[in-house]
């Protein structure tokens, strides 16, 4: 991949990369940064911001700053694991579809059509109704939701490669289909794969936080921004910060991911705006 450093110096790109970097640091190091344990009852109920508890306490008396700092950890871990799985499997399947064509291609494309017809929230709801909202189920479902979309995008990119000389050469050398897919074509679709990963991460974070807000995702007492918004709604009239702070945290993360994806696409000379929007 060839990165154009000029495209990364735009204000929007810098903002996006900075936001993502800040959130990554917070998610990774929150146990050491946070002043209190995020699940321990340390203060009064709904203490306002300021004083001993910098951002106040929630309805149970837990330090809000500590909960906010921890709030991205689980969500980022679940979405990252799910999206890495989706992008890895989807890329290989997408290239395989382009390389083999025929029945495999048809089957995978119908899979994409089915996914397109069913909004992510409903797909996840359908399965957690029976399986519950355990960690493994959530990771699997996030992976399954984004798998077909990745296939479609990577397949389109791979189709521009399958008839090029280096692929023909590999074929004539007698390399196996897997070797051609993974070692010849995959490296030449990586630009698209990276952008795809960034965009799907933003979608997945939105989807998971929305599911958690609806009570169908991560469950209490896990500190999670979506959950914190839904727990704070009851106190909206007299303690609006309980909703505003987590809303700002989740929004800045997704804004960062989207600006970051746009910047990455720009730096690689791709267009991020086509056919991607509408994650949840």
């Amino acid at each position: 991949m060839r990165i154009d450093p000029f495209a990364l110096r735009k204000p929007a790109a810098l903002l996006g990369l900075a936001l993502v970097a800040i959130h990554l640091v917070l998610a990774l190091f929150s146990p050491w940064i946070a002043p209190f344990d995020p699940t321990e009852l340390v203060g009064g109920r709904v203490d306002p911001p300021g004083g001993e508890f910098l951002l106040g306490t929630d309805a149970l008396g837990r330090d809000y700053l500590s909960r906010l700092l921890h709030g991205g950890r689980m969500a980022l871990f679940v979405t990252f694991t799910g999206v890495v799985a989706a992008v890895t499997a989807g890329s290989l399947a997408g290239i395989a579809a382009a390389w083999f064509g025929g029945t495999l291609d048809d089957v995978l494309m119908r899979l994409c059509d089915v996914k397109l017809a069913l909004p992510g929230i409903l797909f996840v709801s359908l399965f957690i109704t029976g399986f519950g909202e355990s960690f493994g189920v959530l990771v699997t479902l996030i992976g399954l939701v984004y798998f077909p979309g990745v296939i479609r995008i990577v397949r389109a990119q791979a189709l521009t490669q399958v008839n090029l000389g280096y692929v023909k050469a590999a074929q004539l050398r007698g390399e196996s289909a897997f070797s051609i897919i993974a070692r010849e074509i995959l490296p030449n679709t990586l630009d698209v794969v990276y952008v795809e990963f960034a965009i799907r991460m933003s979608h997945a974070v939105l989807l998971l936080s929305t599911m958690s807000y609806l009570g169908l995702g991560l469950s209490p007492p896990t500190p999670d921004w979506g959950l914190m918004v839904s727990e704070g709604v009851g106190q909206l009239a007299f303690a609006p910060w309980l909703v505003l702070f987590p809303a700002v945290f989740i929004s800045t993360l997704v804004i960062g991911l989207n600006f970051g994806a746009e910047a990455l696409a720009g730096a690689l000379g791709l267009d991020a705006s086509r056919g991607h929007v509408g994650g949840t």
Binding site: A12, R110, D113, V114, L116, A117, L118, P119, G120, I121, L122, F123, S125, L126, F127, I128, T129, G130, F131, S202, L206, S209, T210, Y213, L214, G215, L216, G226, V229, S230, V233, L236, A237, P240, V243, L244, A247, I250, S251, V254, I255, L257, N258, F259, E262, D271, S273, R274, G275, V277, G278, G279, T280
Partner: protein, 318 residues
């Protein structure tokens, strides 16, 4: 053109059929069968092995899965989605009015969002690289980055608590007439409209820029067509094609947005029914809602395909 459309119609029906398989399988691979799922703990404790076997036969659970799938599909096609576990209510009746209310919310949102997005997207493309474009493009990213549950609650805070103009929670009932529901639904509609416009603006912008750079717009310009005529007659029809091509994504996004705002504002629609059903493990209701949503997405996508064929001569021959 008729042939191309019939081909799309057949594909759409195929997709709907595959969705029914997915919806059926999602419950089929559950631990335990539909009988165990459908019993409350008390009921299950009182039943003997014989009772279980008899109930299984009554419910047809002793038949093989493909036979049960066929039965479920035929019933669903006739609008019969079974009964709920708690209260044994008819699922079709449970979802009928909420479905109407959600469709209402979606229609109003689309009617507001689509013209607004066209205007903003075209303005951004026309003045691309300048202030209006920058404002529209950054605004769009903000618009679809901020989750509806955050923006919805923020709107409640602004317009129901700090400046109390609207009610924070919808006071309408499920079976109220549409006028009452919509009268109370200003903030929910506004919440979904923001995300909806944000989604469409960048597609319209991209389509319009492509159209402005095309040979036929160049030809019209050289032929001396007025600026307004070029925009309205030549570039506008072509600029909506990318947006129409991703209609499925748009409708799916709209449905998700509606589910969320119904929870935020307590609007009596299908989203609330769905969330309650998942919490209570009401499999039949979740199946019905998923299936209806998929049919709506596929039908709207088919309509959009037809519109693309009407607008773009190249699409007719494909």
């Amino acid at each position: 053109m008729a042939r191309a459309f019939l081909r799309r119609l057949a594909l759409s029906l195929g997709v709907v059929w595959l969705v029914t398989v997915l919806v059926f399988v999602s419950t089929e691979i559950l631990p335990g069968d539909a009988l165990q799922v459908s019993l409350t703990a008390d009921e299950a404790a009182q039943m003997t092995e014989d009772d279980f076997a008899r109930r299984r036969a009554e419910l047809g659970l002793d038949r093989p899965a493909p036979a049960r799938y066929a039965g479920w599909l035929l019933a669903a096609a006739k609008g019969d989605f079974g009964t709920t576990i708690i209260g044994k209510a008819d699922v079709t009746e449970v979802i009928a009015y909420p479905l109407r209310n959600s469709v209402l919310l979606g229609l109003v949102t689309a009617l507001v969002a689509i013209p607004a997005a066209l205007a903003i997207g075209i303005a951004a493309a026309y003045w691309r690289g300048r202030a209006p474009d920058f404002a529209a493009s950054s605004g769009a990213i903000l618009g679809y980055s901020i989750p509806e549950f955050a923006s919805g609650n923020f709107l409640i805070l602004c317009f129901a608590i700090w400046v109390p103009v609207f009610p924070a929670v919808i006071t309408a009932f499920t079976k109220d007439p549409p006028s009452v529901l919509l009268g109370a639904a200003f903030l929910p509609v506004l919440t979904v409209v923001i995300g909806s416009i944000a989604h469409l603006v960048r597609l319209v912008r991209a389509g319009f820029i492509e159209a402005l750079n095309s040979d036929y717009v160049e030809r019209a310009r050289l032929a001396g067509a007025s600026r307004l005529r070029i925009i309205l007659r030549h570039a506008l029809p072509a600029s909506v094609i990318p947006a129409l091509n991703s209609a499925a994504l748009y409708v799916a996004g709209l449905l998700s947005g509606i589910i969320v705002v119904e929870k935020v504002f307590g609007y009596p629609g299908l989203g609330l029914v769905l969330i309650n059903a998942v919490e209570k493990r009401e499999v039949a209701v979740v199946q019905a809602v998923s299936l209806i949503a998929a049919v709506i997405v596929v039908a709207m996508n088919l309509l959009a395909d037809a519109a693309v064929m009407a607008l773009d001569p190249r699409a007719r021959s494909r």
